[in-house]
Subunit: 437 residues, 2 copies
């Protein structure tokens, strides 16, 4: 099948990220979508500005409407942001029957009802996963994954800039204004930070989340909105002394007499997972009547995390346009003839760090002997503790953490150590993973 | 449109949960799916056994094949579990062109390739969200929500029983065998706990997750599997002293020379979100090249959480069978004419707990006065701290947490307090949420 041809409006951070992801993962995406997805036409305000992505094979223009109108463009991706001209561009695309993928939370929160109605009328669709919580597939999770639930409430850290500022205020005891200036310098906050720090951005996203959670219209104007610009460092510290973290939350709750929609700084108990979501990360906690609490965590902004959501929407759109309904989503994610028969590597060749516990006799030189054998097999020790004599067995526990070592080397080292008559076999071993990338 | 008629195989814990969810949330589900979903025929081994769900309007039989063959059944939900007869029942349903929804991880892990091929041939589908991590929509997240990524690796706590046991060993210092016996008594572990504690259940789930993450065949036989039955309480404690938590993880990682597939006890740094997933909860951390780390958390087992995933699959199937492709998933989750115009309740009528900070002059009776005014307005104090005099402003900070109070009462109380000449206005206020249900 021929590729699906994308018209891209906006070549800034997110637009550049989308081109990069579509280029780098072209094969993988084609395996999943069943067709290649290619950007053929793109618009930018200034064609001479520096870009973070390659532009080979992409027709460029400063006029976004030209991209929308181009009959060679099958799907429009709108990444200009803001209300104008994004709204007009999107409306025109829908009138032409072209599906639109967007990250534009303000436009959806304000004009979504009208846009969806227009899409419906022209037998096409608007996809907006990237509008909320960046790369976290939260819209799909609520709209499809939790479709069997009555959603009772949800609460989310849905503005990364705000969370970055609050985290720095807590960890470094610095004042709001100082951290904000730093965030602006690092590119985490806009030159005009109003939308982020006054909660407007979060209110846009909460509007969308509440609508899909409760099946209600988008009601941005009725969201109670309070920002974080008035928070003092002292209060963050005092909250900590009470056992709470200050987070800027969007909260939507169904009640008998209506729904609560509110964005404000909130103290939450420090043991909650949500309280431990730090820095620019986002997370949304959703409480369904059947499933109970579920939580979704990930990067809420940035070029590639947002592009991840845009491309997921593109794959959804292409699957919808292309596959027969019963195979819209392939059982194993990729179309059947694209399943690749990967080798499962044998455990012997896998390297991990290790926790080890030796039960040894209390004799001079035992530890030195163990350390020597480990060193002989390339096992290096990261940390070690000698514990109290066990009452029942009259052995000394020695526990240690090692650096990464190949399974085979560890097996060989431990076999040798277990053969010592001063060490009780078997040695206790568990793998250690840092889970950091 | 007429209802979609479900044939349900198995009326035990999960089957009963499915009937309960479909009954209780019938309206909500119909709004989302565009049609009602009704169980019309169900099978159980013993029709006289006690049930957790109503059975009105459901034809009952002890012969599951009768349900599959019933021409009035549009979709088959298989919740018998195990390999036989579940496999034969599912194959027959697919041959009849009926979509199958299942929670059967063992069957999918072992025979999925054949079942998917059969479904494909008969233009129908197998949906298995409930097979992995209970109510967490992790299959949808990976297969659709992260479709733009090359998944680098994933690591999951995907067996609730094991996690419950490890959490109790850590928190209560009790031995594995003792906690297991308790888990069996509470119904968290089976009479034969082998699948849970020896990692086989987790290996089934990891097999499925790896296949959809990497687009590879299901290779259960090649998963390295180690259980938790050998873990001693001492090791859990020593790991804690090193700053680690012991979790039973399923890990799948893409390498240049193949994939790692392994299930084993693992030490992870205690600051990681995954390290703080306790009790019977599940969580899966997925690392995509575009999005970076994302995490999905929720109940991994139980009647209604698993039913949540089964019903989500049913809604997916019904949407696929019914809607025109471009409106398969309604923009705002429910079909357009079912959007209900909910009232957003005014902030005045919302009750939350509060954090308050008063800057007061160091004079006798100020605190008493504040406490009196709060009490007059139904604001009760949960905790209070008087802090050191501030250097610059020569006021004493008094910070407190209140119990839940209506916004209006708090507004009135604070207006009165701010009018005192011994208290500096404005009083600092932030809302407190426990997020516990």
């Amino acid at each position: 099948m021929p590729p699906v041809r994308i018209g891209l409006l906006g070549l800034g951070t997110v637009g550049g990220g989308v081109v990069n992801v579509l280029t780098r993962n072209a094969e993988e995406i084609a395996r999943r979508a069943g067709r290649r997805i290619e950007v053929v036409h793109a618009s930018a305000r200034n064609l001479d500005a520096p870009r973070i992505c390659p532009l080979e094979g992409i027709l460029l223009t400063t006029d976004p409407m030209e991209v929308v109108e181009n009959p060679e463009v099958d799907v429009v991706v709108e990444l200009i942001g803001g209300m104008k001209p994004a709204g007009d561009l999107m409306r025109r695309a829908l009138e032409l029957g072209k599906p639109v993928v967007t990250a534009n939370k303000a436009l959806i929160a304000h004009e979504g009802m009208e846009l969806f109605e227009l899409a419906q009328r022209h037998h096409t669709m608007v996809a907006f996963e990237a509008a909320v919580a960046g790369g976290i597939p939260i819209i799909k999770a609520i709209r499809e994954g939790l479709a069997g639930n009555r959603i009772e409430w949800l609460a989310g850290i849905i503005n990364g800039t705000g969370n970055y500022i609050l985290t720095a205020m807590r960890d470094e005891g610095r004042a709001f204004a100082e951290v904000l200036a730093e965030a602006q310098y690092l590119g985490y906050a806009e030159a005009d930070p109003t939308f982020d720090v006054e909660g407007i951005d979060a209110a846009h996203k909460l509007t969308i989340l509440a609508a899909i959670a409760f099946g209600m219209p988008l009601k941005f104007d009725e969201v109670y909105t309070e920002g974080i610009s008035g928070i003092e460092t002292d209060d963050v510290r005092y909250a900590g002394e009470f056992g709470y973290q200050v987070k800027h939350l969007g909260i939507a709750r169904q009640r008998d007499d209506g729904v609560e929609l509110r964005v404000h700084p909130t103290l939450i108990p420090e043991r909650r997972l949500l309280a431990n979501v730090d820095g620019v990360q986002n997370a949304v906690l959703v409480w369904g009547d059947s499933v109970g609490p579920t939580m979704y965590y990930g990067a809420g902004a940035g070029a590639e995390p947002t592009a991840s959501a845009v491309v997921a929407d593109l794959v959804d759109v292409v699957r919808t346009l292309t596959a027969d309904p019963t195979h819209r989503v392939p059982h194993l994610a990729v179309v059947p003839d694209q399943i690749s028969d990967m080798t499962v590597v044998p455990m012997d060749s896998i390297a991990t760090a290790y926790y080890l516990r030796f039960a040894v006799e209390d004799k001079r030189g035992v530890l030195a002997k163990i350390a020597q054998i480990l060193a002989d097999h390339e096992v290096s020790i990261e940390a070690m503790m000698q514990k109290e004599m066990t009452e029942d067995e009259r052995t000394l526990p020695i526990v240690m953490l090692t650096h990464q070592v190949r399974e085979k080397d560890m097996d060989d080292a431990l076999a040798e150590i277990e053969a010592l008559d001063t060490v009780r076999a078997p040695v206790v071993r568990m793998r250690v993973e840092t889970l950091d990338g």
